[in-house]
């Protein structure tokens, strides 16, 4: 959820072999793709944040809403507690580096999520646990090239094509539109190695909070599912919040 919380971050999940792109295709006058990614990453990765968010999951049959509060520290620690609906209330998730646990109060069990379970949906949304687990910056995971310009949300954007440069990236390629001024990713497609479209992301609303631009409403869509996507809304976010270190322990899941 941390990635989604940061908006741009939810898009981040891999890296690219920039050297493999032909220079002739690079847009004339554009800044270096790597420099754009560096600005995107800098905007996305913050220190401590506490946020309350809502996911509206618009499935094939009906729509439902899931509310959660997240405590996030840096790029690799997060703790999330689900608040609504009643059935999900009290479910907690803890991410420490590349490990993820979930706790269910009904069963009083803490379960490590690993292997194929990582590819499953988070609360039935269009986001997978794998999306949540990505803690590398875009620059670390992808090589990039600027291929054009587009307008998204009435904002001029650079179009960047990213190709994974690490073997374990969740997506082999991505196409992102980055706000030229705010360096936020406003729209994205993620692809498999075969070129098949896997997921899309589109920002619907952006708000300035402190000195950061935060996408407060965005839509994720799993292209392999038949639903209408998941709307992700950030209700409140507090940057540089004080978070006790004890929260990021397995023991805190059962409290």
């Amino acid at each position: 959820m941390k990635r989604a919380l940061l908006g741009v971050v939810a898009l981040a999940a891999a890296a690219a072999a920039a050297a493999s792109f032909a220079p002739a295709q690079v847009t004339v006058g554009a800044p270096a793709a790597d420099a754009i990614l560096e600005r995107v990453d800098r905007n996305a990765v913050a220190g401590n944040r506490v946020a309350v968010s809502e996911m509206v999951i618009r499935g094939r049959r009906d729509s439902r809403s899931v509310k959660a509060k997240s405590w996030i520290q840096g790029a690799d620690k997060s703790f999330t507690e689900y608040l609504e609906p009643a059935r999900e209330r009290g479910i907690k998730m803890l991410k420490l580096g590349d490990q993820l646990w979930t706790y269910s109060p009904d069963t009083d069990r803490t379960i490590a999520i690993s292997g194929h379970m990582l590819r499953q949906s988070v609360m039935g949304s269009d986001l997978s646990y794998e999306d949540m687990m990505e803690d590398r910056t875009l620059r670390q995971a992808y090589g990039a090239r600027v291929t054009g310009e587009e307008t998204v949300l009435d904002r001029p954007c650079w179009v960047l094509e990213l190709a994974a440069k690490v073997g374990d990236a969740a997506y082999a390629a991505r196409t992102i539109r980055v706000d030229k001024e705010r360096f936020l990713v406003l729209k994205e497609e993620r692809f498999a190695k075969s070129g098949k479209l896997l997921k899309t992301f589109e920002v619907r609303a952006v708000r300035r909070i402190g000195d950061r631009w935060v996408p407060t409403e965005s839509v994720f869509r799993d292209a392999l599912k038949s639903g209408e996507g998941t709307v992700f809304k950030i209700e409140t976010v507090e940057f540089d919040a004080a978070i006790p270190e004890a929260l990021f322990t397995k023991a805190s899941l059962r409290k």
């Binding site: 094939r60 049959r61 899931v66 069963t107 069990r109 499953q120 949906s121 949304s125």
Partner: protein, 424 residues
């Protein structure tokens, strides 16, 4: 004449014993093979009907399209009302709510941490409602290896093989990690009430059975079920009957294209079942047909030989004034008598073996290690009404034809040559 011929058969064993033995053996093999093949056929159909598909099945239209993926997000909602309607409309059919589910079975240690974990293939049925036929249909009492059947909320049965792999004992807690109807991960605790041996390799590897109400609760499927199976109370699958029921049900929803409306399908409509049913039917017909042809030839040959051996007798009977037509007819009646006696004896023996195989079966589990579809590991014969009469086809017909053809020699018999033959 029949009484006279019958006495002749009994008193002149040199003449009747060999044909009688051949016919008895042939009919015995025919009846036993027929019973065995019918048993295999019925077992496969019944296993698939009772365990997986029913004779007819109601799902949503959307579920039917992706049925291989067991899409519980496309399950039937308003299941209680639907089942009530079906029971009223088709009282001669048991309507059974079922949920298929996958996931992981996670066994905790003393600290609640994962001690063991394994993938499972589960199905939920109505195991606790009074009067539910599921315990009988699933044969749970027969396959129970240890413990007891589910009686309390949260009780589950798991395959004995899976229990051994997970090192979990009776009464211990197991957590199902599955996916709810809304697609989110769901955790639910169950108690292992017993272990079972399904007799199907695919289920014995990872099978779990739970009560449908518990699984509805675990997977957030309130008043929803994946499938409603219809099993005809007489236990026999008839395609024409299933087609009539399905057509009538589906006609009620013909005017709408809502993908979540229910649709009824027959056993034959289920993935792979048409092929299986056709293969079974074709194989049965070919095996029985070829076997009966061979047996008919053998018995025909026996009839021919028996008749030809009695060439001298014909001459004597004609010489003392018996009419050729009378000799010919008496030969045929005699052949029919021998055929009937042999058919009765062979049918009795064949039925006895079929009954034995119906009760005890043949265990072929050693050959089923890698089989993934529902195929019984104990093959049993079945005695059907046809088993009582099928042996009379080769037994009577072939003997009759053999004698009728060979007996034509009677009309070519010349009494003038008889004494020369007798002198030599």
């Amino acid at each position: 004449m029949i009484r006279f011929l019958f006495k002749g058969i009994l008193r002149d064993r040199a003449r009747s014993l060999f044909p009688l033995l051949v016919i008895t053996a042939g009919v015995f093999l025919s009846v036993a093979l027929y019973g065995y093949i019918k048993g295999v056929e019925l077992d496969i159909v019944r296993s698939n009907a009772d365990l997986r598909h029913g004779h007819v099945k109601v799902v949503t239209r959307a579920y039917a399209k992706d049925v291989d993926q067991i899409p519980n997000d496309l399950a039937l909602t308003g299941a209680a009302a639907l089942i009530r309607d079906l029971r009223l409309a088709y009282p001669d059919t048991d309507w059974l709510p079922r949920i298929l589910f996958g996931g992981l079975l996670d066994i905790p240690d003393a600290a609640g941490e994962t001690r063991a974990q394994a993938p499972i293939a589960g199905f939920a049925a109505d195991l606790r409602s009074p009067g539910s036929p599921e315990i009988g249909l699933l044969g749970l009492k027969k396959i129970l290896a240890s413990g007891r059947l589910p009686e309390k909320p949260g009780d589950i049965l798991i395959s004995a093989e899976l229990a051994g792999r997970l090192k979990i004992g009776l009464g211990e807690k197991a957590t199902l990690i599955g996916y709810s109807m809304h697609g989110s991960m769901s955790l639910a605790n169950f108690t292992v009430a017993g272990t079972v041996r399904f007799g199907f390799q695919a289920l014995d590897r990872m099978g779990v059975i739970a009560d449908v109400a518990d699984v509805q609760n675990a997977l957030d499927m309130e008043d929803a079920v994946g499938e409603v199976l219809g099993v005809f109370r007489d236990g026999l699958y008839r395609q024409d009957r299933a087609d009539i029921v399905a057509r009538a049900f589906n006609a009620r929803f013909a005017g709408s294209d809502d993908e979540f409306l229910p649709v009824m399908q027959t056993l034959r409509d289920q993935p792979g079942m048409a092929l299986i049913l056709d293969r079974i039917g074709d194989s049965t017909a070919i095996i029985i047909g070829v076997f009966f042809l061979v047996m008919s030839l053998v018995m025909w040959n026996a009839g021919l030989l028996g008749t030809l051996r009695r060439y001298g007798e014909f001459g004597v009977r004609l010489a003392i004034g018996e009419d050729k037509g009378h000799v010919y007819r008496s030969m045929i009646v005699e052949a029919l008598l021998i055929g009937a006696l042999g058919s009765i004896a062979g049918t009795v023996l064949g039925l006895a073996v079929s009954f034995y195989l119906q009760v005890h079966g043949i265990d072929i589990s050693g050959m089923m290690k890698n089989v993934t579809f529902l195929m019984p590991t104990v093959l049993r014969a079945r005695v059907t009404p046809a088993s009582f009469v099928i042996g009379f086809v080769p037994g009577l017909l072939a003997t009759f034809i053999g004698t009728a053809i060979a007996g034509r020699a009677i009309y070519r018999r010349e009494t003038a040559r008889l004494f020369k033959e007798l002198e030599s």
